[in-house]
C-alpha cells in the first residue's frame, strides 16, 4: 500500500488547483452533454427506447471518464515524470517504480471517477435515469477510469516528448469514441468495425452504463467488466515494464 503516498501527493496538488481542475474535468463534459443532447435530441426520436439525451448521457459518461483518465495519466503524468522529475524524487525514498505506477493509475482513475460520477449525478437530477440502478454506474465509471488510466500510463512512460500523445489521441481515442456506441448504437456499424469496437474498452463501458441509465440490469455484465479489468491489469503490467526500462537507463 506504499502507492497511497503517491496518490495523496497528486490529490494535494489537485486540491490546490481545484477550480481549474473542476472546470476542465466537470464543466466541459456537461456542456457537451447538454449541447449535443438537447440539440440533437430535438431532431431525433427516441433511441433504443430512451430519449436521445439519456442515451447520449450514458455514452458521454464513459467518454468523459476516458478523457479525464487519459489526460491525467498521459499529460499530467508526463509532466510529473519528465518535466518536474517528481518520480525521481520519489524513487530516492523507499518506494519503487511499481509503487509509483500503481499510485498514478489509481489517482488518474479517481479523478476520472469524479467526472463520471458528476454525470451520474446529472442523470439523476435531470431525471434522465429512471431507477436507482443508475448508482451502479459509479463503480462502473471507476473501472472505466482504471482501464484508461493504465493504458494512458503506458503511453506516458513510452513518450519521448509531448507530441507522442497526439498519435494515441488521434489514431486511437477519437476513432474509438466514434465506434463505441457513444453517439449512436454501435450495432448499426458494419460488422468489421463492430468487431474492432468490441476489442476496445470504451464499448464495454458503454454496454454496462447504458442499461443502468435506462433502468435495467446490463446483459453480459461480467464479460464487459472482465474486458475493462483485463485492460487495467495488462496496462498496469506493461506500464511497469516500460517504466522500469525507462528508469534503468
Amino acid at each position: 500500500m506504499r502507492w497511497v503516498s503517491v496518490w495523496r501527493r497528486n490529490m494535494l496538488v489537485w486540491r490546490k488547483l481545484f477550480v481549474a481542475a473542476v472546470l476542465s474535468n466537470l464543466a466541459d463534459p456537461l456542456i457537451m452533454l447538454f449541447g449535443l443532447g438537447y440539440g440533437l435530441g430535438a431532431l431525433l426520436p427516441s433511441v433504443e427506447g430512451m430519449s436521445y439525451i439519456a442515451f447520449f448521457a450514458a455514452g458521454q459518461l464513459c467518454t468523459a471518464t476516458m478523457f479525464t483518465a487519459s489526460f491525467e495519466s498521459m499529460f499530467s503524468g508526463f509532466s510529473r515524470m519528465h518535466g518536474q522529475k517528481t518520480w525521481d524524487a520519489i524513487l530516492y525514498a523507499p518506494l519503487t517504480i511499481d509503487d509509483i505506477v500503481a499510485g498514478e493509475i489509481v489517482w488518474a482513475a479517481s479523478k476520472a471517477w469524479l467526472t463520471g460520477s458528476t454525470i451520474v449525478g446529472v442523470t439523476v437530477v435531470f431525471g434522465l435515469a429512471s431507477s436507482p440502478l443508475v448508482l451502479l454506474a459509479l463503480p462502473a465509471a471507476f473501472l472505466v477510469g482504471l482501464a484508461f488510466s493504465a493504458v494512458g500510463l503506458i503511453m506516458c512512460v513510452l513518450a519521448r516528448g509531448w507530441d507522442f500523445f497526439s498519435y494515441y489521441m488521434t489514431l486511437v481515442m477519437t476513432p474509438m469514441m466514434m465506434i463505441s456506441g457513444v453517439f449512436f448504437p454501435a450495432e448499426q456499424l458494419p460488422a468489421p468495425l463492430l468487431a474492432v469496437a468490441k476489442a476496445l474498452p470504451l464499448y464495454h463501458g458503454v454496454q454496462i452504463v447504458r442499461p443502468l441509465v435506462a433502468g435495467g440490469p446490463p446483459p453480459e455484465l461480467w464479460l464487459h467488466a472482465a474486458v475493462l479489468l483485463a485492460y487495467a491489469a495488462a496496462g498496469y503490467a506493461l506500464a511497469i515494464h516500460f517504466a522500469r526500462r525507462r528508469f534503468s537507463s
Binding site: R2, V6, R8, V13, Q84, T86, A89, Y92, F247
Partner: protein, 304 residues
C-alpha cells in the same frame, strides 16, 4: 556499528557498448565525509545511482548501511537521504508541504513530520518560510530546501550529487557550513563534485574518478603530497616563449596551455627570481592544490 557505511566491490555498468562504470571499489566509513571527484561523464552519478539501487549493476557487490543493494535497496533507502544534482522539489507546494509530502513516502507519521519541520527549516535557513510558495524561493533557498527534504527521515547517510553547483558564494558557504554540521552530528556524507575547493574543505577522504574507474584515493592532503609538486608558478603574457628558454631549466616540470605556462617544483624560488627580468610577464606563485592534482590525473581536455 558496521565497519563501512557504504561499500562497493568491482562495480560495473554499461549502457549499450559504452561501459560507464568499469570496476569501481569504494569503502566509506561511518561518520566520514567522502567525495567522489571527476570530470563530466566520469561515471559519478551512475555510481551514486548504483549505490542507491536505482539501477541494476552488470557486475559487483554493493552494501549500503548493512543492506545488500539492489536486493534490499528499499530498506537501505529508508535510512538514506539524497540531494540530487538538479532540484526536483514539488513546484505546486509550499516549503512545508514539500517536506510533509516527502515524509509520507517514508511512512513517517504526520505528527512526527510536523514536529521535525521547524528544526529542518531552521537548518535550511528557511525558518518562518514554511508557507512560502516554491516560486518565491531563490536558487540557493531551493537547494537548501532540497537538503532539508533529504533529512526528513533523519538519515544515517546522505548522498549529494554536486550539492553547490550553480550557487553564488554566499549560498555555497552556507551549504558547506551545514554539511560540516551534519558530519559533526555523526552522519555519513557521500558527495560528488567537480569543485576542488569544496572537496578540499569538506571531505575527509576523496576518490578521483575518470572514465568509469577510480584513479586515485586518499585524504586531500595526501593526494596533493603524493601526486604533485608542492609549488606552482603560473606565467602568462607577451614574451613568455623567450623566458621559457631560461625558465624551463629551473622547474622540474612544465606544462603549457595556450599562452600560460604552469611550472611545478619543490624549490621554485630561482624560477620566480628569473621572472623579474621580464616585466611584461604576469605570474602567480602559489601552493599546489587539489585542482592541480585533478588536472594532472585527468588531463586538461574538455569533457562535454
Amino acid at each position: 556499528m558496521a565497519i563501512t557505511a557504504l561499500s562497493a566491490r568491482g562495480l560495473r555498468k554499461s549502457y549499450g557498448a559504452l561501459e560507464v562504470v568499469s570496476g569501481v571499489d569504494l569503502a566509506v566509513a561511518p561518520g566520514e565525509c567522502f567525495g567522489l571527484l571527476g570530470p563530466n561523464g566520469a561515471g559519478k552519478t551512475t555510481t551514486l545511482k548504483l549505490c542507491l539501487g536505482l539501477i541494476e549493476p552488470d557486475g559487483g557487490e554493493i552494501e549500503l548501511l548493512d543492506e545488500p543493494v539492489p536486493r534490499r535497496a528499499r530498506e537501505a533507502r529508508a535510512r538514506v537521504g539524497v540531494v540530487p544534482q538538479f532540484d526536483n522539489l514539488d513546484p505546486d507546494f509550499t516549503v512545508e508541504e514539500n517536506l510533509v509530502v516527502y515524509g509520507r513516502y517514508f511512512r513517517i507519521p504526520e505528527n512526527r513530520i510536523k514536529e521535525r519541520i521547524p528544526g529542518l527549516l531552521e537548518f535550511a535557513g528557511l525558518a518562518g518560510r514554511g508557507d512560502s510558495k516554491l516560486t518565491t524561493l531563490s536558487g540557493g533557498m531551493k537547494r537548501r530546501l532540497t537538503l532539508a527534504r533529504a533529512l526528513v527521515n533523519d538519515p544515517q547517510l546522505v548522498f549529494m550529487d554536486e550539492p553547490t553547483t550553480g550557487l553564488d558564494p554566499q549560498a555555497r558557504h552556507l551549504i558547506w557550513e551545514r554539511l560540516r554540521r551534519l558530519t559533526q552530528e555523526g552522519k555519513t556524507l557521500v558527495l560528488t563534485t567537480h569543485f576542488m575547493e569544496e572537496a578540499e574543505r569538506l571531505c575527509h577522504r576523496l576518490a578521483i574518478m575518470d572514465r568509469g574507474r577510480i584513479i586515485a584515493e586518499g585524504s586531500p592532503r595526501a593526494l596533493i603530497a603524493e601526486h604533485i609538486e608542492p609549488q606552482v608558478v603560473e606565467v602568462h603574457g607577451q614574451g613568455h616563449e623567450e623566458w621559457m628558454q631560461r625558465g624551463k631549466a629551473l622547474a622540474p616540470r612544465v606544462e603549457r596551455v595556450g599562452d600560460t605556462v604552469y611550472c611545478y617544483g619543490e624549490n621554485i624560488e630561482p624560477l620566480v627570481k628569473s621572472l623579474s627580468a621580464f616585466p611584461d610577464l604576469s605570474y602567480l606563485h602559489r601552493r599546489a592544490s587539489l585542482e592541480d592534482v585533478f588536472l594532472k590525473l585527468t588531463g586538461r581536455d574538455l569533457r562535454d
